[in-house]
């Protein structure tokens, strides 16, 4: 029970209790924080009406010690700013004074007060809610920053745990699967041993010079009889007789049957590609990396094709028809079989050789048709028609799918249901392949990629299932496009939306880095296939026209007259789907597609102009009719006015 004396002034014991209860713990500069420094005994910036310290308020209160201690404890527990504590103390003092004034007992008031801890907590919360906007913003800012940091740390640990604890599951040897068909070919039927020997025999590239002795930039297959360096090319062909013989012999084999290898053919690598002969060979890994497959033979095969075609031209000039047929057949064989195994890049190189072959043959038909007999022309025509499976030239994407599967199995874990997460080994693997710029910035050097930055990369790079979905979506659409002729192709915008769209969003290139690694520029490949298809079709018609001319001493009035004796059907103009266009100009047959402008210009090639250097007007220049009209209006003159003249070939006609 308090005494009146205590109530008036407070006993030393009570005062000490109040001081102990009300004084905040000191630290540093005595507990004077920024907000406290703004306060003085006179209040904020000196404007105050009441004593500022809660301690003073309580000490001066005419209350029993028990009340003052209670108020002091509550006020201390609120941990509010000094001014707020003083205000709370003042109100609680007023409350107890009112209670006593109303006749309530000291103990009764204490009891009615309730739980002091809860009171302090609720008061603190309520008072803070009433603070100014600046403080609220400052507080929310810190809370927000704290949340962001917490989330970031949580995400880092989550992704870190995933990337550091998972490992890739490499279970399929895709290289072995692709090699299986080649290995199934009996050794006696393989062309590769002969081609390999031919490459080794031709290891040293020829050097051509101008009259002043400077080295000339001459491509063997592109030199023509009568041109400046032809005599040097002829000399080179004479020295390459062994290579040519081997290539002709190889073309008698049913398959090239070259295995995909890493670097185990050291003799070839040393002879042709300058690899150090002292380097040790490594045993082939159990699961070779498909992306790591070396295809050094492709460049050599292209040179072999050029050599054969140059020799065919030489044989024409020497009227050696059998050699012409053998050389052309060998070149066509190389073009056909280089793509075995369906590695896309091999198919493309093979198509290059095939395209060069049909161009040389077209020149022969146009300029020196009499060198070959009708039977020989028919034989060459059959070889050309059956190459690449006949029909439209479509480049299969099976190997690209296998390559992507191989990248996935080296990069992600495998949950057995098509899902999986990025692994640190996979990150190193991707990094060593070269990733999009932003990811490389994050990962740094490949050796660092499984370290501290791995969780960041793991957060960016999408999981295995998403990678496959995006890849499949794009490749399936590419295959859908490849299955449609040029005249049924959708607009460029639609194609871009379906093919480029999935990789165009923010960080999409980084998220789908594995897709970007494998996915080639298939759109250009498609147009190229269409171009070669059209050029081949035109050549077959040209050979048929030549034979018709021999039989009838005149060209037919229409291509329909060639069917069915010399052609199974008139091939389509790949721009329109209508029959290929045919006209006689100066008693010479001209075969053409209407070309980019879709307008029949009677077989006239687009003229060169100051504003337009592109005059090829081939399938690769195709523009969707809907976009064509817009381009005509927006950029008059940008569309070449003329046809895509397929025969006679450019090299043999006057511009």
């Amino acid at each position: 029970m308090s005494t009146e004396t205590e109530r008036d002034s407070g006993t030393p014991t009570a005062r000490e209790g109040i001081r102990a209860a009300i004084t905040p713990p000191t630290k540093g500069n005595g507990g004077q924080g920024f907000w406290q420094l703004l306060e003085t005994d006179l209040g904020w910036f000196g404007f105050a009406r009441t004593p500022i310290r809660a301690e003073q308020v309580i000490e001066r209160a005419a209350l029993p010690a028990a009340h003052r201690v209670l108020i002091a404890r509550v006020v201390k527990r609120t941990k509010l700013w000094r001014r707020e504590r003083a205000d709370v103390a003042r109100e609680l003092v007023a409350h107890f004074v009112d209670g006593i004034g109303a006749g309530a007992s000291e103990a009764g008031l204490v009891s009615a007060f309730g739980d002091e801890r809860r009171a302090a907590s609720l008061i603190r919360r309520a008072k803070k809610r009433g603070r100014g906007v600046v403080w609220q913003v400052w507080k929310r800012g810190w809370q927000g920053a704290g949340c962001v940091v917490l989330l970031a740390v949580g995400a880092y640990l989550y992704f870190g745990l995933r990337v550091w604890t998972s490992s890739p599951s490499i279970t399929r040897n895709y290289v072995a699967e692709l090699n299986a068909p080649a290995l199934a070919v009996p050794e006696s039927e393989r062309g590769w041993p002969l081609v390999r020997e031919a490459i080794l025999a031709q290891a040293k590239p020829p050097t051509f010079t101008d009259e002043d002795g400077t080295v000339a930039d001459v491509v063997v297959g592109e030199a023509r009889p009568g041109t400046k360096h032809w005599s040097q090319v002829v000399s080179h062909l004479r020295q390459s007789e062994r290579t040519l013989s081997l290539l002709r012999a190889a073309s008698a084999k049913p398959a090239l049957a070259r295995r995909l290898v890493l670097d185990d053919d050291r003799e070839l690598m040393v002879a042709v590609h300058g690899m150090s002969p002292t380097g040790g060979t490594h045993p082939p890994p159990e699961y070779p990396d498909m992306i790591g497959i070396l295809l050094p033979h492709l460049g050599s095969i292209r040179q072999c094709g050029r050599l054969l075609l140059a020799d065919a031209l030489l044989a024409v000039s020497e009227s050696q028809s059998e050699r012409v047929v053998e050389d052309v057949r060998a070149a066509l064989w190389l073009g056909e079989h280089t793509g075995e195994g369906e590695i896309l890049i091999s198919r493309l190189v093979g198509l290059t050789v095939f395209q060069a072959s049909i161009q040389v043959v077209a020149e022969m038909v146009a300029e020196t048709p009499s060198v070959l007999s009708e039977e020989q022309w028919r034989s060459i025509a059959h070889s050309i028609a059956s190459a690449h499976g006949g029909g439209r030239i479509i480049l299969p994407l099976g190997s690209e799918r296998a390559m992507f599967d191989d990248v996935l199995q080296r990069t992600f874990s495998d949950d057995g249901r098509g899902g999986g997460t990025l692994t640190s080994e996979g990150l190193n693997y991707l990094s060593s392949m070269g990733l999009p710029g932003e990811l490389n910035l994050v990962l740094g050097k490949p050796t660092d990629s499984s370290g501290a930055f791995a969780p960041i990369a793991a957060a960016i790079i999408a999981d295995r299932r998403s990678q496959r979905e995006i890849f499949d979506g794009i490749v399936c659409y590419q295959e859908f496009l490849a299955g449609r002729p040029l005249w049924e192709q959708p607009t460029k915008a639609e194609v871009a939306r379906r093919i480029d769209g999935p990789l165009d969003g923010p960080f999409a290139r980084e998220r789908f880095a594995p897709v970007g690694l494998v996915l080639p520029a298939l759109r250009k490949v498609y147009f190229w296939g269409e171009s070669v298809t059209q050029e081949r079709d035109a050549l077959l018609v040209a050979i048929a026209l030549e034979i018709f001319h021999r039989r009838h001493a005149a060209y037919p009035a229409s291509l329909a007259e060639l069917v069915p004796a010399l052609l199974p059907a008139v091939p389509p103009d790949r721009y329109t789907g209508k029959p290929l266009n045919y006209v006689l100009i100066g008693a010479r047959p001209v075969l053409y597609s209407v070309g980019t402008d879709l307008d029949d210009d009677a077989g006239l090639h687009p003229a060169k102009s100051a504003t337009r250097t592109r005059v090829t007007n081939r399938a690769a220049d195709w523009i969707h009719p809907a976009e064509l009209e817009r381009l005509r209006q927006e950029k008059p003159g940008s569309i070449p006015d003329g046809d895509w003249v397929l025969y006679p070939p450019l090299a043999t006609r006057e511009e």
Partner: protein, 114 residues
């Protein structure tokens, strides 16, 4: 009868706003009024009342002024703001809806609890 904390959390602020509708009051006065006028049902200790008042003040529903009373004592008087009046009207409407719903369910009758 004391009511559950959850119910008090909903009823307390409305009760305080209603008391202040007639005019300004100080803390102890509110405690007493709540206890007497609700027969102790909405009896709340200071540990509940003052945080409640500070909350209402922070929300701008009431405002406080320190003033010397006739007795010479310093008191903090609370009064309803315009915003508080609107809130009181809205809360009153809601409570009427709740009571009507409870009546239709038979939880309370016109004369009191069922």
């Amino acid at each position: 009868m004391r009511i559950e904390t959850e119910l008090m959390r909903g009823a307390g602020p409305v009760a305080v706003l209603k008391l202040l509708e007639r005019g300004e009051m100080y803390g102890y006065e509110l405690v007493e009024a709540l206890s007497k006028r609700t027969s102790g049902v909405l009896d709340m200790g200071q540990s509940t009342l003052y945080p409640l008042l500070y909350n209402l003040e922070a929300k701008g529903l009431i405002e406080a002024t320190w003033r010397e009373a006739d007795s010479g004592r310093d008191r903090k008087y609370y009064r309803l703001t315009g915003k508080g009046k609107k809130r009181l009207a809205a809360d009153t409407e809601q409570w009427r809806g709740v009571i009507a719903a409870m009546q239709s369910l038979g939880v309370v009758s016109m004369g009191g609890a069922a």
